[in-house]
């Protein structure tokens, strides 16, 4: 690779500054790290509950989001239809509206007649596991659709046309050509959506509350620890969340890197 010119060396400096900023913040946690508290927090039943709840809720929310996002992203990528532009714009909704406001909207919805009917006749969402999943689902859905649409956009439509001239139905063409070629985007969408759901706080707090050993996801647990001025305990939980998130991202890079270079 060619050496960058003088002007572009500044851009490398900027990239290293970004790394230093985040790494510095994480390293600064160690100032308050107490090995005994870390051990105690890591092996406590409450932390184990938070980890289990976070992993389960994030996984269910991500799978549900992908179930809806895959066909929606495909339609947005391939078809021109009434309401398409509005649908694309709405994908930004969870980004421009803060998660807390999004959670409040969900909570308000369950206080109107339709929301009440849903809660009474289907699943009770507010202050329960279903509420956590719903809050995370609503928060990550837009991101999942946007990432998957980008993945489908990368697959030339012409390949689907060729598959159809070769006798494949649209469904067969989708599963044998489009989906395998969008595989990397699909994996990346799953992992990033899952990581975002795992770290979701604002909407979860609004919809499910912050009840210890009930709706206490890892971010809620961090919030509760900090509220009780337990800095060492907070640091221990943050490190757990960071470790899970970084492991997921590292795994994603390995998987994507391997399939790209296969």
């Amino acid at each position: 690779m060619a050496m960058p010119g003088k002007g572009f060396r500044a851009s490398i400096g900027a990239a290293l500054t970004v790394l230093a900023l985040y790494a510095g913040l994480i390293v600064s946690l160690f100032w308050f790290l107490d090995p005994a508290t870390l051990r105690e927090t890591l092996f406590s039943e409450r932390t184990a509950f938070s980890i289990r709840l976070s992993l389960l809720a994030a996984t269910v929310a991500t799978l549900l989001a992908l179930l809806l996002a895959i066909p929606a992203a495909y339609a947005l990528s391939r078809y021109r239809f009434w309401g398409r532009e509005a649908a694309e714009t709405v994908l930004e909704f969870p980004i421009i509206v803060s998660p807390a406001a999004l959670g409040a909207i969900i909570l308000i919805f369950f206080n109107n007649p339709l929301g009440e009917w849903i809660q009474e006749n289907t699943i009770y969402f507010v202050f329960g596991f279903a509420g956590i999943v719903l809050a995370q689902f609503i928060t990550v859905l837009g991101l999942a659709v946007r990432m998957l649409k980008a993945a489908f956009d990368e697959v030339p439509v012409e390949l689907e046309t060729v598959a159809r001239t070769l006798g494949a139905s649209p469904r067969h063409g989708f599963f044998t050509v489009t989906l395998p070629l969008a595989r990397n985007g699909l994996i990346a969408a799953f992992i990033l959506t899952w990581a975002k759901a795992l770290g979701e706080f604002g909407a979860t707090l609004m919809v499910a509350g912050s009840m210890a050993m009930r709706t206490e996801t890892l971010p809620i647990a961090i919030f509760l620890k900090l509220s009780s001025a337990d800095i060492e305990g907070t640091v221990a939980l943050i490190l757990v969340l960071v470790a899970i998130g970084l492991t997921a991202l590292f795994a994603a890079r390995r998987i994507l890197g391997r399939s790209v270079h296969a």
Binding site: E158, L159, R164, T165, L166, G167, A168, V177
Partner: protein
């Protein structure tokens, strides 16, 4: 075999307007036109990826206008070839058999034969990304033909190749067409490619079918000014038809004999192809039906196997003349040399403005 009946279709703001053509069984028909002329729209309508607004597409007598793509039994080779990059060459060429659930015993003999003719046997276990341009072209052809299609659609598949590889693949396509009796609809902007591969040519310009016919007719007698200009004809001069076979063309010296009466009365254009303008010596005896013009060569360009000359007649008309390089070298014409050219009446023709 393939019959398009007043086919119209819309693609965005573009409209393809009432195209009618017939491709006989075992024939190759080229649809020729500049960028934005409607070639791709026509192809998409035949493929079935673009809804037809009016007219019909018939294949072997069956109306397929509303038939889904996968039920049309077409072989399609697009410009970018459309090879599936996640599959091996072997899986690419047997994709059709698998999609249609054809038992291996049924498709194997044809696939083996195609593999043999095109010489891709050694490539079967390779990934598409490792193939050269020519190899990719061969694989795309085999994949399209392995489906035993009723009609093969070629969308400028040889455009990206260098000249010698292009010619090699044209010959291969010819061989395949002859051996398999293929019916082919070729879309291209390249006249040489169309002339090499096709029996008949349709010229599309701005979504309209300007001319259809045997390739020699379309090449030698373009029916209108847009077709003539697209086919690279530079020698076009305003003229007025006086009577059958006679026009008045001031630029070429006045009253002249010409063919192409179908153009009708009144204002018209007189044309002659560059290679039909005869280079003469001043003392050459006059020939029957030939108009002689004197003037000077303004530019002389040796292209290797041929030469292009710009000749300014004393009347002020500029003519493009094409001759063999050996002729140029023999007579030694240069820019500024005086010269004489002959315009045979048989090669002068009238066309629509």
């Amino acid at each position: 075999m393939l019959e398009l009946e007043t086919l119209s279709a819309r693609a965005g703001g573009f409209r393809l307007d009432g195209v009618s053509l017939t491709v006989g069984a075992g024939e190759c028909h080229a649809v020729l036109g500049p960028s934005g002329s409607g070639k791709s729209t026509l192809l998409a309508a035949v493929l079935g990826t673009l809804p037809v607004s009016s007219g019909h597409v018939r294949l072997a007598g069956q109306d397929i206008t509303r038939l889904p793509v996968e039920h049309r039994h077409l072989g399609y080779v697009p410009q970018q070839l459309g090879l599936f990059p996640h599959l091996s060459v072997r899986d690419n060429v047997r994709y059709s058999a698998r999609a249609r659930r054809v038992p291996e015993a049924e498709y194997r003999p044809l696939l083996d034969r195609l593999t043999e003719i095109t010489g891709i046997g050694a490539l079967l276990d390779r990934r598409v990304s490792t193939l050269s341009g020519g190899e990719r072209q061969r694989v795309a052809l085999v994949r399209a033909l392995a489906a035993n299609p009723r009609l093969v659609l070629l969308d400028e598949p040889f455009t990206a190749l260098n000249e010698s590889l292009r010619r090699e693949l044209w010959w291969l396509m010819k061989d395949l067409q002859r051996e398999r009796g293929l019916t082919v609809l070729l879309v291209t902007h390249d006249l040489t490619e169309a002339y090499f591969l096709a029996d008949h040519i349709t010229v599309l310009i701005d979504g309209r079918q300007e001319q259809s016919g045997a390739k020699a007719t379309v090449y030698r007698r373009p029916a209108s000014e847009p077709v003539a200009r697209f086919l690279g004809l530079k020698n076009l001069y305003p003229a007025r038809r006086l009577e059958a076979g006679i026009v008045d063309c001031p630029a070429l010296g006045g009253r002249l004999a010409a063919s192409g009466d179908a153009a009708g009365d009144g204002e018209t254009l007189l044309a002659i192809r560059a290679e039909h303008v005869a280079l003469r010596q001043p003392d050459d005896p006059p020939r029957d039906g030939e108009t002689r013009l004197t003037g000077r060569f303004e530019a002389v360009l040796d292209l290797g196997e041929a030469a292009l000359l710009h000749f300014r007649a004393d009347s002020g008309a500029l003519l493009e003349v094409r001759c063999g390089s050996r002729v140029l070298r023999k007579y030694g014409w240069q820019a500024g040399s005086p010269g004489t050219v002959g315009l045979p009446a048989a090669d002068l023709f009238i066309l629509r403005r």
